[in-house]
Symmetry: C2
Subunit: 160 residues, 2 copies
């Protein structure tokens, strides 16, 4: 059965919380950034793969929706899907959950670029990574369309 990858699981740290006692916006993205590291492990671009190839992923662009507050000490996990990819780019969808809860507390759509760190310059994925991406993309295409994708920021229309 098709399932998103689980790419990070851990606890909300006190140093990530703001004056309101809530997880600060930037640290939702830090959790998603760690989830991207977890994703890289799964496509052959973990630490040993990066050292062997000199290749890595750079984040080009991301969108974030902050849906619910989180507090210090809560355990959360990130579910990750491959939405699309081409020779050098991969488009991911990360959603943050309390374990066992289907409703996301935050979501992020991201575009990542495969780079040779010598340069740095963009280069095509290696064969092993491309094979992983293709398999994950086919698997995740079976899932229901994620909610927080393709968004443009703007005020809601005024009420009548």
């Amino acid at each position: 059965m098709a399932e998103p990858l689980i790419t990070w699981r851990g606890e909300v740290l006190g140093q990530w919380c703001d004056y309101n006692g809530h997880l600060r916006d930037a640290f939702y993205l830090l959790i998603f950034s760690y989830a991207t590291d977890g994703f890289m492990e799964q496509i052959g671009l973990g630490e040993s793969g990066r050292q062997a190839s000199g290749h890595s992923l750079f984040t080009l662009e991301c969108h974030l929706n902050f849906l619910h507050e989180l507090h210090q000490g809560e355990t959360v996990e990130v579910q990750t899907r491959v939405l699309a990819f081409d020779q050098k780019r991969v488009q991911l969808y990360h959603s943050l959950h309390r374990p066992g809860d289907g409703q996301a507390v935050a979501a992020s759509e991201q575009m990542l670029l495969h780079v040779d760190l010598q340069g740095p310059r963009s280069v095509p994925f290696g064969d092993a990574s491309a094979t992983h991406l293709n398999a994950l993309h086919r698997l995740h295409a079976q899932l229901a369309q994620p909610q927080w994708v393709g968004r443009v920021i703007g005020l809601p229309p005024p009420r009548p």
Copy 2:
């Protein structure tokens, strides 16, 4: 003459840099988050204003473009404009610059919600904040349209 606000200036810290020696994606957003704090100071929602009113801003949604790498020890500043606002929301454009350099190294469009921390529940801006927002919005409307707004994430079209 119309100018964006300068809402944060500081140095890229070593603890914000990743295994590539570059500022990690999440810490660009932390800098923009500090810039939002600086913006709040300027519209009467700094620490003393928050304590007096019990009101604050929550980030609902943001979009980030990572345009250039930054390294530990570099000095950067954030320029901030009010793109739009309504009774309870403000849409900001933050851009990150090396001081004196018009070209941004990153940009973020953000939607923020004004909340009463008792609840928390959304509430209209107070009169003082609304007056500041109106003045800033009129001023910033005189500036050239910012580059990294209204974006949707997606792969570029394949080359012919």
